[in-house]
């Protein structure tokens, strides 16, 4: 009972205190312009904090839809970039009177499941053959290469992640440099190795590595990572470590790349 009385007294004291201080502040603000500005500024600061916090909470809960929207916009931009690069290539190739390929189309997808701690990592995407996905399609993001579609069901695709020791892609050093084979280093989440780079090609730490375009699965000129250390292997080629742009731990939205000339190219192959 005494504790209850004590709590009640405290509540009453605090309430009276707030009322009296509020009254004093109102009087201060009405009687002196300096204090009026001061109190009004303090009020705005408090309201800013309160409303800022509630907005931050609201934004946190709407992050998922914002991410989805960003992924769609990203995919749209990537698509336009590829289209523009394709047009540029056509201009160059047309002037040399060679036939041109028909470019790539993109299908946006979301990662349903991803494995990272193994040597043979995989990704499952929420797009299948009903969405137009075909096997042997590449999977990319704006930050680089993600993997290769290995199998497709009605609504899902099974992708060999780039972090899979069986996956290798053709990559190019810098804008005009040599091509090599890029594979996962098998250890780190953002490490790769560019193999079989001829010794005569010079490179520097910090150079960008791009997709070469020699693969039928990936469009050329997608930035993949940055050159790190290198070493000579068997006295014949360079082996260069690459730090990937793509963070696989944060992978959520991707684009499935389909080569529109794939059937034609495969028909030509023996």
């Amino acid at each position: 009972m005494p504790r209850r009385n004590s709590t009640l007294n405290t509540v009453i004291s605090v309430a009276v205190f707030i009322v009296l201080e509020a009254a004093a502040l109102v009087m201060l603000s009405r009687n002196d312009s300096l204090q009026k500005v001061w109190i009004s500024r303090a009020g705005h600061a408090i309201m800013g904090k309160v409303w800022g916090s509630t907005q931050a909470v609201g934004r946190y809960f709407s992050l998922s839809s914002a991410n989805r929207q960003l992924a769609i916009e990203n995919q749209e931009l990537l698509s336009r970039l590829l289209e523009a690069e394709e047009k540029l290539r056509r201009v160059k190739v047309d002037s040399m009177s060679f036939p041109v390929n028909q470019g790539f189309s993109l299908i946006p997808a979301e990662v349903v499941k991803i494995s990272r701690g193994k040597q043979h990592n995989y990704i499952i995407l929420n797009r299948g053959f009903e969405d137009g996905v075909q096997d042997k399609s590449g999977v990319i993001t704006a930050c680089g290469v993600v993997g290769v579609v290995d199998a497709v069901s009605r609504h899902h695709s099974f992708v060999f992640s780039f972090q899979n020791s069986e996956v290798s892609i053709s990559a190019r050093l810098g804008d005009e440099g040599s091509n090599g084979i890029l594979v996962w280093d098998g250890v780190s989440s953002n490490g790769a190795i560019l193999k079989e780079v001829p010794l005569q090609y010079r490179h520097h730490q910090g150079d960008t590595v791009y997709t070469s375009g020699h693969s039928i699965m990936f469009p050329p000129d997608i930035p993949i990572g940055i050159v790190g250390d290198s070493k000579i292997v068997n006295g014949a080629t360079n082996e260069i470590s690459v730090s990937l742009f793509q963070d696989f731990k944060a992978l959520r939205y991707v684009s499935i790349v389909h080569n529109n000339s794939l059937d034609e190219i495969e028909d030509l192959q023996p």
Binding site: N9, E21, A24, M27
Partner: protein
Amino acid sequence: MRKSSFWTVYLMLTLFQLVLSNYGSFSPYVTISILPVMALCIPTRIKTPVAMIVAFATGLVVDWLSEGVLGLNAFALVPVALLRDGIIRAVFGSGLFARKEDFSIAKNGLSYVAFAVSMAQAMFLVLYIWADGAGTRPFGFNAARFGASLVVSFIAAMLSVNALSPSDR
């Protein structure tokens, strides 16, 4: 001194504070106020909400009848009344409240009373100077004003405390 005489002394000290506020402003660095010690010496039998209302009214009267800004003394004095209970318990122990006694220099010693008074004065002056400057005065000025005001107000408060808390009350 009879118990009812506290309020007479309180009223007289309020008038004295009015004189101080109107004629005691000899430097922008010094603010003399005995209002905090008056709030601190409100008898322990008076509950905190009532003490706050008394402090608020006293502050308003001083603001209104002196050249101050209305609400300034009230704003700084109400928190002292809110924490009066806590200061007394912290410095003199809870026994005073249990016995419904008030503190005094003769009963509790000069050092304890001086410590409690300086806490109340400091709290009041921090709020008063902060609100009076309204964020426009530099920190150095406010700090110097606080130091000088605390010294002068403390002396005035210690002279008043014996009138407010005589040993026989």
